[in-house]
Amino acid sequence: MTAREAAHLRRAKDLVDRSYAQPLDVEALARRAHCSPWHFSRRFKEAFGETPHQYVLSRRVERAQELLRNTGLSVTEVCLEVGFQSLGSFSAAFHRVAGMTPTAYRSTMAGFPPHIPGCWAAQWTRPSTSARMEKRDGAGRG
């Protein structure tokens, strides 16, 4: 992979990190990376280890986890804050990525992580997309 292509893919990834609460589809992300959706999904996974769809979901769940840990927002408020359209889709995605419900996560993880910059935590606490999620999504889905 050339530096030029890597930069295009990074810009699409940064768009997710910046605009995770907005509607994001593979077509829009592919446009940011200057390539077709099919090519983009394949190259994104090669570059970052997961499909764009998985990355969007895990970033939203990571943001939700921070809000659950560090704010008093309700689960519904958190759901809307990070870009999910319904509590049902949020709860399902959260469970698939984090392996527990948002409520269980809040009670388990309140106060984590310790006193480190939130930006650092955002990079390191984004949940890895599990094998179960990969299998359910299908390898070719972006």
Binding site: A6, L9, R18, P113
Partner: protein, 146 residues
């Protein structure tokens, strides 16, 4: 013990120099060109000449060209390095940088330690800037320092 210089790997030293001086307002501390990839450029944030960032280009003979290309791709992916800056007014600085066209990663956000924002340098390195200010946001219960 002090840290007078840190090295930040960049894709193109001329472009990096332009970014750090014209966009961020750093000053050139040293710029010595020895030919090939061997050019020593350090820049310092405004008012802090004792803090230098070496804008380093990796290539032959330090590593072979294939390895250099791999390093370049990693930098371009955004995992080359991170620079943490402290500013007096995060929101104003952010607005100024956006007007200059920086690639934004994160708009200013209030944290328990202050306000911070993030953007990319011209190579893709992650640059964060923090304004140390009381935001009223409580630190996590397990906070142990800072």
């Amino acid at each position: 013990m002090r840290i007078p210089i840190i090295a930040l790997r960049v894709l193109d030293q001329d472009r990096a120099l332009q970014f750090y001086t014209e966009t961020l307002g750093f000053t050139v501390t040293e710029d010595m060109d020895f030919g090939g990839h061997m050019r020593w450029i350090t820049v310092s944030p405004p008012g802090a000449p004792e803090q230098e960032v070496l804008l380093e280009r990796i290539g032959p003979p330090i590593v072979d060209q294939e390895t250099a290309d791999q390093i370049d791709a990693l930098i371009a992916k955004g995992v080359g390095g991170t620079l943490f800056l402290e500013v007096d007014d995060c929101r104003k600085t952010f607005d100024d940088l956006v007007a200059k066209g920086v690639e934004v990663i994160q708009e200013p956000m209030e944290r328990f330690y202050g306000i911070d924002a993030a953007f990319r340098d011209d190579s893709g390195n992650h640059v964060r800037m923090t304004q140390r200010v009381e935001t009223g946001i409580a630190a996590p219960p397990s906070a142990v320092n800072g």
